[in-house]
Structures are given as structure tokens and as C-alpha cells.
């Protein structure tokens, strides 16, 4: 096998190929129909195949042309990735609760504190006092802006307190 000249492009192509194939394969489970009477599968099948072909071309091109250093993808920044996404998940779980495991909704305020603390861990510096102040500011600000001013329907406090 020839050496890959551009890692980034090669794996982008692989991604397009996978996505295209997956959608095209999924499309065959729906009624495809024909041009004059298209079924729900027609358009995604067409676009999916085209995407997969484009992905293959991208991969092929990556073995021929690329940057001098081989366009490496580089290290994955696991720390920000995990903490940012984790903060998002924690907020969602605390805000709405998870009925499937019997976790009640803890509401917006607790969610904001959790999100701020977890997200702050993604950075290089973590100052507990500073983060606590930030979380309080964000909680009060969000309450005023979204609940008080915009009157959005948020569970603000844990359901076991409000009932």
C-alpha cells in the first residue's frame, strides 16, 4: 500500500464514505420507488451513494497529494473534550432528570452549578472560589433572564422540593 500523503484528508474521506454508505444502506430499508414516483428512500439513496463515492475519491487523492508533513491529525484533546461534553450531559441529566433510573429532576440552578464546575475543569486553571462565584453569577443571571424576563418554562428547583 502506498504511503498516505494526507492523514486528515484520508480519514475525512473515510468518514464521508462511512456516512454515505450508512445512509444509502438505511435508505434501502424504505420504499425507494422510481423517478416519477419517488419513495422515501430514493433521495437519501442517491445522495448516500454520491457521498460514499466522493469519500472514496477523497481517500484516493489523499494517497497522492498532501502537505509536506503528511497533514497529521494530531493528538485528541481528551481533557477539554470529556469535560465540556460531560458538563453538557450533567446539565441535561440534572435539569430534566432521568426517569429511566429514577433520578428526579434537580432543576436549573443545581444544573448550572454542576455545568460550571465540570466545564471549568476543562481549562488549565481551576480556582474553586472563582468558579463558585462564576456559577452563582450565571445561576442568578439565567434566572433573571430566562425565567423572570423571558418567562421560559424551566424546572428551576429540584422536584422533591417544589413537589
Amino acid at each position: 500500500m502506498r504511503k498516505i500523503k494526507s492523514q486528515k484528508d484520508f480519514w475525512s474521506g473515510a468518514m464521508f464514505c462511512t456516512v454515505g454508505t450508512a445512509f444509502a444502506w438505511g435508505a434501502t430499508t424504505y420504499n425507494v420507488g422510481e423517478g416519477a414516483r419517488m419513495g422515501p428512500g430514493y433521495f437519501p439513496l442517491m445522495v448516500g451513494i454520491l457521498t460514499a463515492i466522493l469519500g472514496l475519491v477523497t481517500m484516493a487523492k489523499a494517497t497522492v497529494k498532501g502537505g509536506a508533513d503528511g497533514d497529521p491529525i494530531g493528538r485528541v484533546a481528551w481533557r477539554p473534550l470529556l469535560f465540556i461534553i460531560g458538563a453538557n450531559l450533567a446539565f441535561g441529566v440534572l435539569l430534566g432528570g432521568l426517569p429511566s433510573i429514577g433520578l428526579p429532576a434537580m432543576g436549573m440552578v443545581i444544573g448550572i452549578y454542576a455545568l460550571t464546575f465540570i466545564a471549568s475543569l476543562a481549562g488549565d486553571e481551576f480556582n474553586l472560589k472563582g468558579v463558585a462565584i462564576l456559577a452563582t453569577v450565571l445561576a442568578v443571571g439565567s434566572y433573571v433572564a430566562f425565567v423572570w424576563a423571558l418567562k421560559l418554562q424551566f424546572p428551576v428547583w429540584p422536584t422533591f422540593i417544589t413537589g
Binding site: 423517478g35 416519477a36 414516483r37 437519501p44 465540556i84 450531559l89
Partner: protein
């Protein structure tokens, strides 16, 4: 002059205290949410729709419209000061605006964006008033074949404008089209790619994709860099007004941006986002004056042109809505919802059956733009204070606004999971060097393209030649092909690649 009669009637409606108040409220809210990254006009208008039940229809539409074009002003502020698109249409403003801010020229960048937007807003409104009636006529000639060709042209245009690999940009559009397929198929009622998840039968939320890819993906990317080269600047801002030299360069860019934005805003699928992209790319193609800062390094034209274009596009994208009843973008789709709430059927008949509403709304845009320039330039001092906030405080706030914003769209935590997933996807795109903007465009246009392809082929009984035998459609497709050929010409290709290396 019929136009002046109409406009004076419009101003009569818009100048009542109640409507002035709602225009101001809309503009204030628009600026605010434009400034807040991760909360866009789509989310805000969606949030406020229920609140407009009680209002008279004109006031409701005036306020909602104000949010849309107000967000175009506010979005540039965040793009320049925080290096995040406060609004999706400010994505390209980030490139040069932020570089200007880093060099201590945030003031002139903000002024260029504000003044450019104001000028473009006035022109866009005038065009809306003047061209909406005749366009109603022309638009009757458009069949599904023409619409599809128009969208193809729009997408090809967007690809040419994307930086980096053409191949990858086209692929990203295709992925966007595919993601747009998720949800219930309108014709057959089949829930496609929904994996029996009820929330997915409504499709993936545009907001979840935009916030995840542009918000979370970027934050993770920013945090991955060491603090030294992290994209945060602390340099002082001095001098709000652009220099004479700045003005000299800004004015032609504003004019080009306004013209382009007004034209692209009218197209279905167009609007603020596409206009900003196109305007930036045109500026980039023009020759640099001696001593001018290159694009991507803080060129004022890179701020003035897309900001003018997105505001002009925001105004003129009301044309397809008000003349045809076809929403050209997500915001206009919500405006359709707002009109339906008040028992107004959007379409060509609005102009004749509800003239006060039609012309009152247009006149209010003029007033709104005047309010916005007053709101934004004096209040810029407040936004500049945002600069002193260190990134370690800012990014948790952005994560929070994204999470809250996406939740409030449907009051459903499912959207919070989706934004998390797209955050991971966005970071992957970043690592692979895939520009995400074409994906968003494909995502919005996907369902519309499928619908028009279906209708066109249904009418032609499956004959694909319908796209080239109908003259308007053939012309649009020809333009798309010509665009592709031009970009692929060896000389242009080399130059294009060279231009993007500068980024």
C-alpha cells in the same frame, strides 16, 4: 408614486407608540441574543412565538422581525470580540474581525460592522418595498425544476466560497443533505433514520447542530491549544471610529456586500448566512491595495462586506416569504408560524388582503435599523467590557447558554444530548480539517431540494431532462456549472489554493 403611498401607509402603522415599542423591544432582544453566542434568532423567535398570541399581528411580526435583523448587528460584536460567531451569519466576520481586535482595532471593526449593517439595512428595506410587488409576478413562473436548480446553484456557490479542499466541501454539503433527511418524510409519512426515537421523527434540530459544531467544537479546539497560543486577546481597544483610510476601503466593500446580500437574500435557501459567505469570498478575490493588511490578518473589508451582506440578506429574505409564502431559511419558517397563529395565510395575497401588515412591517424595518445603529454604536462600550472577561470564565458561560438555549427550543433534554453529540462531531471536523459551514447549508436545503426534485420529476413523469429543457432552470444550472469550471481552471485553482493558505 404608488410606492410612496404604500410606504407612507406603512409608516403610519409603524409609527404608533405600541409598534415603536415592539420594534425597540425586538431590536434590543435581537442585539442581546446576537451578542450571546449559541443563542440565535431561531431559538429566540421560537421561544417568543407563544408570547405573541396576545399581541396584534402587526406588532408581533414587527417584534419578531426586529429580533432577526437585530441579531445581525449583535452577532458581529461577538465575532469581533470573542472569536465566536454570535450568530451563524457572522461566521466569516470572525476571520478578520477577531484579527483586528487582536491588534487593538476592535473599535473600527465594530464601527465598520455597525455602519455597514445600517446602510445595507436601509437599502435592503427599500429593495424589499420596491421589488416585492413585481417579484410576486416573476415568481409565478418558477416551478419545482427552477427551485431545485436555484438551490443547486446556491450550494455550488457556497462550495466555491468555502476555504480548503473543494472535494471536502462538496462532501460536507452531501453529509448535510443526508442529516436533513432524518425525520418524517412529508410525502409518505415514513419516519426515516429515527431509530424509533420519537424526538428524531421531527428531524435533527438545526440549533443543536449549529451550537454543537460551532459552539462546543470550537471551545474544545480552543482549550486544546496551550494558553500561550489560545485565541484570546487582551490588548487595549483605542479609538472607536475608523480612520479615513479605513473608510476609503470600507465604502466599496459595503457597497459590494449590500448588492450581493440583497440579491442572495431573495433566493430560496439564501438569506443572511449565504450572503455573508459570498461577500467575504468576493472581497478575498479582489486585489489588495499596496500596504493593505491581507485577508485573515485583520482586513477591515473582511468585516464590512460580510456584515453589510448579512444584514441586506436578512431584509431581502423577507421577499420570498411575503411574496410567495415560501420561507427561505429557518427564521422565515418561524415567521410563517407567527403569521399562521394570527390567521394570516402567507403568500402573494398578503399584500392585497393585509396591506397595513405588509407595509407596516417593511416600514418598521427602516425604523428598526435606525434604532439599532443608535443602540449599537453608543452601547459598544458595554460590549467592549466583555473583553476584560477571561476565557476561563467565558467558556463555561457559553457552554451554559448553548445548553439552555437548545433545551428551551423544545423544553426537552433530548436536544441537550444532541448538542453534546454534535459537539464531538464538530471537534472531529476540526481535527480532520473539514469546514462545517457547507454542512449547515446542506442541512437546511436538504428537505427543500428533495421536495422540489420530487415534484419536478412527478410533473415530468420521471424525465430528468426537465431541468435542462426549461429555460430558467437550464440557465441556473449553466451558471452553477460555469462556476465550478471557473474554480477548477488550473490558473484559478492555483490562485485559490494560494489565497486560502494565507488563512
Amino acid at each position: 408614486m404608488e410606492l410612496f403611498e404604500h410606504l407612507s401607509m406603512g409608516f403610519g402603522v409603524a409609527f404608533t407608540p405600541v409598534n415603536l415599542l415592539y420594534a425597540l423591544l425586538g431590536c434590543l432582544l435581537g442585539t442581546l441574543i446576537g451578542v450571546l453566542p449559541g443563542i440565535g434568532p431561531v431559538a429566540t423567535i421560537a421561544m417568543l412565538l407563544p408570547a405573541t398570541y396576545a399581541l396584534p399581528p402587526v406588532s408581533a411580526l414587527i417584534m419578531l422581525a426586529g429580533i432577526y435583523y437585530g441579531a445581525q448587528y449583535g452577532g458581529s460584536t461577538t465575532a469581533i470580540l470573542v472569536n465566536l460567531p454570535g450568530e451563524s451569519s457572522s461566521v466569516v466576520t470572525v476571520i478578520d474581525g477577531y484579527q483586528m481586535a487582536r491588534k487593538g482595532r476592535a473599535g473600527p471593526a465594530l464601527a465598520a460592522a455597525g455602519l455597514g449593517s445600517f446602510f445595507a439595512g436601509c437599502v435592503g428595506t427599500l429593495i424589499l418595498a420596491a421589488f416585492a410587488p413585481p417579484l410576486t409576478e416573476l415568481a409565478f413562473k418558477f416551478g419545482p425544476a427552477e427551485y431545485l436548480s436555484l438551490m443547486v446553484l446556491g450550494l455550488i456557490g457556497a462550495v466555491v466560497l468555502a476555504s480548503g479542499s473543494l472535494l471536502k466541501a462538496i462532501s460536507m454539503i452531501m453529509v448535510g443533505l443526508l442529516l436533513g433527511m432524518v425525520g418524517t418524510d412529508v410525502n409518505s409519512g415514513v419516519a426515516r433514520y429515527s431509530f424509533d426515537i420519537p424526538e428524531l421523527t421531527d428531524g435533527i434540530g438545526f440549533i443543536a447542530i449549529a451550537m454543537g459544531v460551532f459552539g462546543y467544537g470550537e471551545i474544545i479546539g480552543n482549550l486544546a491549544n496551550s494558553s500561550a497560543d489560545r485565541e484570546v486577546f487582551t490588548s487595549k481597544v483605542s479609538g472607536l471610529m475608523p480612520t479615513r483610510q479605513d473608510f476609503k476601503r470600507m465604502v466599496p466593500a459595503v457597497l459590494r456586500g449590500t448588492a450581493l446580500g440583497s440579491a442572495l437574500g431573495i433566493l430560496p435557501g439564501g438569506g443572511a448566512l449565504l450572503s455573508a459567505f459570498a461577500a467575504y469570498s468576493i472581497e478575498k478575490k479582489t486585489k489588495l491595495h499596496p500596504g493593505e493588511v491581507p485577508f485573515g490578518k485583520g482586513n477591515i473589508r473582511g468585516v464590512a462586506a460580510p456584515e453589510s451582506a448579512n444584514n441586506a440578506g436578512a431584509q431581502t429574505s423577507f421577499i420570498p416569504l411575503l411574496t410567495l409564502g415560501i420561507p427561505p431559511n429557518a427564521v422565515m419558517a418561524l415567521m410563517v408560524g407567527a403569521m399562521t397563529i394570527h390567521n394570516i395565510q402567507p403568500g402573494p395575497q398578503v399584500m392585497t388582503s393585509n396591506p397595513e401588515l405588509f407595509w407596516g412591517l417593511i416600514a418598521s424595518m427602516w425604523i428598526g435599523n435606525a434604532m439599532l445603529i443608535v443602540l449599537n454604536l453608543p452601547l459598544i462600550g458595554i460590549w467592549i467590557k466583555l473583553l476584560s472577561i477571561p476565557y476561563r470564565w467565558l467558556f463555561p458561560a457559553i457552554v451554559l447558554f448553548c445548553a439552555i438555549g437548545v433545551y428551551s427550543e423544545n423544553n426537552n433534554t433530548f436536544d441537550v444530548w444532541m448538542v453534546g453529540i454534535f459537539g464531538i462531531v464538530g471537534y472531529m471536523f476540526l481535527k480532520l480539517g473539514c469546514e462545517p459551514a457547507p454542512l449547515l447549508l446542506g442541512f437546511i436545503l436538504g428537505p427543500m431540494m428533495e421536495e422540489n426534485l420530487r415534484r419536478a420529476l412527478l410533473l415530468s413523469r420521471g424525465d430528468w431532462s426537465v431541468f435542462v429543457t426549461r429555460p430558467i432552470s437550464a440557465g441556473l444550472l449553466l451558471a452553477a456549472v460555469a462556476l465550478l469550471v471557473v474554480v477548477l481552471l488550473p490558473s484559478v485553482k492555483a490562485k485559490r489554493e494560494e489565497a486560502f493558505v494565507e488563512d
